[in-house]
Amino acid sequence: MSAPLLEVRDLSVTFKVAQQGAWPWSAPRLLQAVKDASLVLEPGQTLGLVGESGSGKSSLARAIVGTVPASNGQVLWRGEDVVGMGAARHRTHGRHVQMVFQDPLDALNPRMTVGQIVAEPLRTHFPDLSKAEIRTRVGAMMERVGLLPALVNRYPHEFSGGQCQRIGIARALITEPELVVCDEPVSALDVSVQAQVVNLLQDLQRDMGLALLFIAHDLSVVRHISHRIAVMYLGRIVEAADASDLIAKPRHPYTKALIASVPIPSPKAERSRHRPVLKGELPSPIAPPSGCVFRTRCPIAQPSCAEQIPAVERIGADHLVACPFADLAVT
């Protein structure tokens, strides 16, 4: 079996947080944003990454792209370690992995025209291309994402949110990457525009054979687009499975609560269903609970949960879950 497109092994991301009022030389506190995350992505596949705010989804994505340093673990691109790459080698690697951001307007330089923005990755990775060649490619890409090529000389503030996101997608796709990391690409958009952008991403994925790492906190969007879904809680991946399997048969208590929180668009069904509601807030990632990080809010927590970190177990063909008591019924 050849190496997968992207494999993440035990990746950890740690941030240093300066303590308020501390001496300049005292050691900073460590914020464990991602802890021992592992995942695999095959070409052309979509991996959805869900979790509540602060669960480390974005940090994991940024460590994969390389804009945030990984403190531990490996990111393997076709078997080659990306984390240990030199800066120059990493820059050329940027051609294969591109990113789409949450706030579409924030992701576009307000002083550059749309044409310049979309052309930037091309100019970076193919400095020998002629101006005419760049122009035709940018025009073709604009058309591909559903924008008029005549708009290349416009500036980002002249576009709507959905259009800006299309520009961001055009910029990400212009170098024909193999993986696009989408960090909540639709969270800032209207629902109707969300659907357009998600469909556009799916079309492009089919046509170009892209792999997508799709981050969202909206489970219904992720279910629509993903082949596989991974659920994160406080920096750990607690469950990962094929999309239909995970939605139909969630095993981890956190996944169950997450799925139960998705509203059903029917008041009758909504009122009659039983939904376990999680109490409390996400614990601080600076001082996470011992053992299983979810135990403070878990409906089926056992005394032993505080003692050791639950191992990731394989149940079923491709269903991974990090909870030894997943079979206990929720009461």
Binding site: T92, A107, P110, E120, T124
Partner: protein, 305 residues
């Protein structure tokens, strides 16, 4: 139905649509501001005066009119008949020519000082802010140390030790003028650094210095330009103060500060025009720069009004 279609065809068929850049918007806002436009006109007039003046002046700035010497209060007063439109100074030199010369020097000092601060300060601050961490710490502590030195003292020492020359004045002003600008540029860079478009460029693999030049500096420029227009008058004031102390540019060169100094010395002799003319140009130029700076700030930062 048909109308929409034809509009769409028009759009698709037209070569390219010209966008309105933020700069174009700012220009439109600037020209709607009456005070700023008035300031700009005054500055253009003073600039024209400095450039065209030497060609229309009937007297040379170095020649002494011997006929008025000894009787400056009477014969040296401003008049069209003698050709001394602004009168003469205490030595009988034509004040019009002298004022033109002083205007040239003062504007030069102001603009060179502001240019140094824009180029050096912006680059320095952007680099410190973008790289952050230890580099930022070292670079900004250097700025702090330079700032803590009393600049006037250093400037005076420079002029005394190396002799009074225009070059030394530029060196002295260049040494200090970029410090504030570096701080401002660094602060702005820190806020820009968190923007997603910087991260997008980094993720794509754009080199750090290209990011600074392509993404950070153009977004800093609004603040930098505003500060630079307010810096020009403060440079002029600096130079005038130094010249007023008698340490600035050396005769036969002159500047507004030197002329004002000379005029003030003769104030009690009934020759007020010697003070009035350079002071008039000094004041209207400063007001011009302040109004233009205000207008630019309103135009470039419509949020902070």
């Amino acid at each position: 139905m048909f109308a929409t279609k034809s509009i769409a065809d028009d759009l698709a068929g037209s070569p390219t649509i010209k966008g309105r850049s933020l700069w174009a918007d700012a220009r439109a806002r600037f020209f709607r501001n009456r005070a700023a436009v008035a300031g700009l006109i005054v500055l253009l007039a003073v600039g024209t005066f400095a450039i065209v003046g030497p060609f229309i002046a009937p007297w040379n700035n170095e020649d002494i009119d011997w006929t008025v010497l000894g009787n400056v209060a009477d014969g040296g007063r401003p008049s069209f008949e003698t050709g001394h439109w602004f009168g003469t100074d205490a030595l009988g030199r034509d004040l019009f020519a002298r004022t033109v010369q002083g205007t040239q020097i003062s504007l030069l000092v102001g603009i060179v000082g502001a240019l140094i601060s824009v180029v050096v300060g912006t680059l320095y601050g952007a680099i410190a802010g973008y790289f952050g961490g230890r580099i930022d710490n070292v670079m900004m502590r250097i700025v702090d140390i330079l700032m803590s030195i009393p600049y006037m003292f250093v400037l005076i020492l420079l002029l005394v030790v190396f002799g009074r020359s225009l070059l030394m004045l530029f060196v002295g002003i260049g040494l200090i003028s970029w410090l504030d600008m570096a701080r401002i540029a660094r602060g702005q860079t820190l806020t820009l650094k968190g923007k997603a478009f910087i991260e997008a460029a980094r993720a794509t693999g754009v080199r750090p210095f290209t990011i600074i030049l392509r993404h950070i500096i153009p977004n800093l420029l609004g603040v930098v330009i505003v500060y630079a227009t307010l810096l020009v008058p403060s440079m002029i004031i600096y130079e005038s103060f130094i010249s007023f102390l008698g340490l600035g540019v050396q005769e036969p060169l002159t500047s507004w500060g030197a002329l004002i100094n000379d005029g003030a010395a003769e104030m009690t002799n009934g020759t007020l025009w010697m003070l009035a003319w350079p002071l008039f140009f000094f004041v209207i130029t400063l007001f011009g720069f302040f109004f233009v700076g205000d207008g630019l700030r309103d135009a470039l930062d419509p949020k902070d009004r």
